[in-house]
Symmetry: C2
DNA sequence: CGGCATCCGAGTAGATACTG
DNA sequence: CAGTATCTACTCGGATGCCG
């Protein structure tokens, strides 16, 4: 598995960041958890793709998105768009023409999320082969 | 909404990265998509929390994880652990004592993912209030 | 065209009980 | 202790049809 090796030093840095994030959650039970509750919505596969495509094409209409986000259904797409709009990631603009035109684009908040998302996606693209072969190896033995 | 403003310059950089990622997917339909297919598994809310906690506590046992990953059920936890192991993110070690002891820890591959995940989680923690208030505002008007 | 409403089947989650 | 088994409930996704 070729991969930039993670040094012990990096692991320590990571541990420090985690301590900041988790330190205060450590004692009590986490009825509310930002990672679980906030990110769950914006980190499912469809939402990720929607946000990434809206980063790529600054403005998109419904059917354009549907073509690009391959495999998504009308229903799910419109649901996700609604949720992402509600959470402030994207902005929906309707032009009352005939036929109606509706355009979607990222808000500044959405762009801020997009930046984080891109790094994760780059990672996923880079290592997807590793994951696939891991899966196969695991199934066999 | 206080947030480091995203400059046009940054947007351009992001667009370039996206072009690299999406450029080759642009023409054809994406039957296979690493982001959708690989990341979906490792980016659901439970998997994220499991990986983050395994970054925080280098070694954890089943019930320890269950206590920390608040709200997860036996079934889902054991399913997720199995998938994450299969994809190579974590390593499961069984000690045939009585009673059995099973320990989970991240692989190097898992640590590499953890690093990306942490930034996303930091973002989520920082802006969770923004998202929550966005949601409320949207519901009202 | 750009959706939303509805229905239905399949899969998933959760609770509980149980076992090696 | 570390899960599995089982059952139920619910959510999700896909297909279809409707409407402005």
């Amino acid at each position: 598995m070729e991969m930039e090796t993670i040094t012990e030093n990096q692991k320590v840095k990571v541990a420090e960041k985690l301590k900041k994030m988790f330190g205060h959650m450590d004692r009590r039970e986490m009825e509310y958890c930002p990672i679980r509750d906030v990110m769950a919505l914006a980190s499912d596969k469809w939402s990720i793709l929607i946000i990434l495509y809206l980063g790529y094409y600054p403005v998109m209409r419904f059917n354009h998105l549907k073509k690009r986000v391959y495999g998504i259904s009308n229903k799910v797409l419109s649901e996700r768009l609604k949720v992402l709009e509600a959470d402030g990631y994207l902005c929906r603009t309707m032009f009352p023409e005939v036929p109606v035109r509706v355009e979607y684009n990222l808000t500044d908040f959405g762009h801020s999320y997009l930046q984080k998302l891109i790094e994760l996606s780059e990672w996923a693209t880079t290592y997807s082969d590793t994951v696939i072969s891991n899966r196969k190896r695991f199934r066999k033995g």
